[in-house]
Amino acid sequence: MKSAALRVVESHVESSLAGRVLSPFTVREPRAPDTLPTGVPAVDALTGGLPRSALTEIFGPASSGRTSLLLSILAEVTLRKEVCALVDASDAFDPGSAAAAGADLKRLLWVRCGTRETRNEKRETFKRVEQALKATDLLLQAGGFGLVVVDLADIPPAVARRVPLASWFRFRRAVENTSTALLVIEQQPYAQTCASLVLRMQRNTSGLSFHPAKNGVPTHARLLRGISVSAEVVRSRLERKPVRAASANFETRAAWAG
């Protein structure tokens, strides 16, 4: 039971905030964030989809299915007639793979970072990261994109780790209260607490799928069929319960595997 004095204080606060704050003493449950489907049922079941208005990190080593998952997400989002942007720090995006995965390339703005300077590779890598950060800033300021992807997958962790935390905070703030989902593909997680969802990708132990599997078969009679990968939720702010280790397994298939 509220005391009379407390009620008086409450009414005084409410009257002084009238017109500025609606019902200051009403506790509102935070609305569940809107999500984008990833196109992989196992990952959707695990994460609930890619949250809008938030930063998501997908990290993992080479050949762990990060880019395959990215293409699947791009295909889903462009299928919903939303506009996407890809900031490609290493200029490694393959439009052929994306089109084969079902992405509508007309709805994908591709920003290819690079300086064509090959004399000093380290300096070029720094320059690429700098360009990627600037480009991401500009795209988030422009607004209206359903998905903005920053692809740092080929940037060595020693370089990517130097991206100041303030940049990730700025990106997180920029997508807040918008319908944009910001996705970063990388080798290690860098955004720390700024990320609402962090997914670790890894190739399963017996992940390589060659057909036929037997080694004795002549090499020209074998086909690379795909990779078996697993996705694990490392951090999720979307659930109110404590984060638990959870993973989903799925397979990627080669375009020629049918």
């Binding site: 050949s63 880019t67 995965a101 007309k106 994908l108 920003v111 500009l138 209206g144």
Partner: protein
């Protein structure tokens, strides 16, 4: 009813329109080749300072050094006249191009749209002021009465129908002889001066006294011209309006007194020109999708051309002078003129504005104006050809695509009528496709074989080295060997002939999959990309 818009002291008004800061200063417009440069127009402050029409430049510099002198500019006058016509066209399609400084509108049927004539006249004056001109506006029952009222009475004047003679009575007769587009030749001017002198000798100096002269006596002395002038003075003209259809030509130009070699002052000038063009386009309910900038450069310039031209194409019709200015600034920053600028010409391609409301159930997409600005800035960051939408080429050549201009939702992303295109109609399936991360340019490698199988991959990058634990291949592809010559932009040998392998290599970081190929033209091994 008819409305006439008259810009007094038009030569000076055209100059002041381009340089609004001169509005508060003493200004004189000069014309002629040195040393015979003389004053042809002055404002009130210059007259107060002692400057008179006909004085030479040297005389002005001696008696009133504070007076700003500006060379007469046909470009500015043409632009000011076009702006005046645009303002009139914003109200009525029936507009007469009477003179450079005068236009007449037919107001029939406009009262339901714009209210009574006095309100329309005020709105017309405001619209003309928006394009940088100060005008007199007069409304009368016939075109000539409206013209004379506008030329003789300042501000907004409404002459009631049937009361023209009384209202125009105080005007001086020289108002009748102002040149118009049809009678600006020397002979007509001499004849007008002759009649004016005669009237002056008779002591006829106002419309009222001219209107009161006996018709027969006037006819005997001045002929039919005298009777025509008397009818005009009585406000009894019955001529028909001659509507003009001004071409949709939106161009503004400025000749600079001193060459500009920095982008900032140039942007200031461009801002003014863009404001004027956008106001004119808005007056005609139009927008633009292309801006053409032409800069006259100080000769001799480095590139050997004295004219610098850039065209700014927009994916959609827009009308935002600030956005245009920013885009032009970015364009000039990326492609500087290379020499000081002495003349700026800006033209806009008029198009119908895009509908403000897009389809109701369309997903949110970037606003065209903001997207265009972001794309221009992105091009500044990563390079001209590095931003856009990829388009696959109809070839089996690996990594064959081209970059196209990216367009926002309503413009380029309409559902394609043609189904089954290269990237249309594909549905994502539940098993994600294995993606390839392309190495651009391909990474030079060395492959060791054990029998017919690759056993080790070596490159200059440590992560892309290791023992081969599984492989598939080789797959041979070739193409374009039938072409005789490579396209001009082909960086390397155009015909391709290669042997592809898919290699799983084991290294310190684990296992990774690569697509490796041997170029059969030169025998080099290259890593094309990584499966991820």
């Amino acid at each position: 009813m008819f409305a006439a818009t008259y810009v007094p002291n038009f030569l000076l008004a055209a100059v002041v329109r381009s340089e609004p800061e001169l509005r508060e200063q003493a200004v004189a417009v000069v014309e002629g080749a040195p040393p015979l440069v003389s004053v042809i127009a002055i404002n009130h402050k210059a007259a107060t300072a002692g400057v008179e029409i006909g004085m030479t430049k040297l005389q002005v510099a001696t008696c009133a050094p504070a007076v700003k002198l500006r060379q007469r500019s046909k470009l500015r006058e043409t632009a000011a006249h076009a702006a005046l016509l645009d303002c009139a066209q914003a109200f009525s399609p029936r507009v007469e191009d009477t003179a450079a400084d005068t236009v007449v509108l037919d107001l029939a049927g406009l009262d339901r749209l714009f209210g009574p004539p006095a309100k329309l006249a005020r709105e017309l004056k405001r619209r003309v002021a928006d394009v940088g001109l100060e005008a007199n506006v007069a409304v009368a029952g016939n075109p000539d009465a409206a013209i004379h009222a506008a030329r003789g009475l300042p501000g907004v004047t409404v002459v009631p129908q049937g009361n023209e003679a009384a209202r125009l009575g105080d005007l001086t007769v020289d108002v009748l002889f102002a040149p118009n587009n049809g009678g600006a030749d020397v002979e007509a001017a001499e004849h007008a001066a002759e009649i004016l002198e005669t009237l002056d000798r008779w002591g006829v100096r106002t419309f009222r006294t001219l209107a009161a002269l006996p018709e027969v006596a006037l006819s005997e002395r001045l002929g039919q011209e005298g009777l025509r002038l008397q009818k005009l003075a009585r406000g009894q003209s019955a001529r028909l309006l001659v509507p003009a259809e001004p071409p949709l030509h939106f161009e503004e130009a400025m000749e600079l007194e001193h060459a500009v070699d920095l982008l900032e002052p140039l942007a200031f000038i461009l801002g003014r020109l863009l404001d004027q063009i956008c106001t004119r386009l808005a007056a005609r309910a139009l927008a633009t999708n292309e801006l053409r900038l032409t800069l006259g450069l100080v000769p001799p310039c480095l590139r050997g051309e004295n004219v610098y031209q850039r065209s700014l194409r927009l994916p959609q019709a827009m009308l935002d002078s600030k956005l245009f200015l920013k885009l032009l600034q970015l364009e000039l920053k990326a492609h500087p003129p290379g020499a000081p600028v002495v003349k700026v010409t800006l033209a806009a391609e008029p198009v119908r504005p895009r509908p403000p409301q897009s389809r109701l159930f369309l997903p949110v997409s970037p606003l065209p104006e903001r997207l265009e600005l972001a794309l221009a800035r992105l091009r500044g960051v990563v390079g001209e050809e590095q931003v856009g939408a990829a388009e696959l080429l109809d070839t089996h050549r690996p990594d064959a695509f081209r970059m196209r201009r990216f367009a926002s939702a309503e413009q380029g992303l309409k559902p394609s009528a043609k189904k089954g295109g290269s990237d249309a109609g594909l549905k994502p399936c539940s098993t994600p496709l294995m993606a390839l991360r392309v190495l651009r340019p391909p990474l030079l490698a060395a492959v060791e074989f054990c029998g017919s199988r690759p056993s080790r991959l070596t490159t200059r990058i440590r992560e892309v080295c290791g023992d081969v634990i599984a492989c598939a291949g080789p797959w041979r592809t070739s193409g374009d060997w039938w072409r005789e010559s490579a396209p001009a932009n082909a960086a390397k040998k155009y015909a391709w002939n290669r042997e592809e392998w898919d290699l799983a290599i084991s290294n310190r970081d684990g296992v990774a999959l690569y697509r490796v190929y041997r170029d059969l033209n030169n025998g080099e091994w290259l890593v094309e990309g990584q499966y991820d």
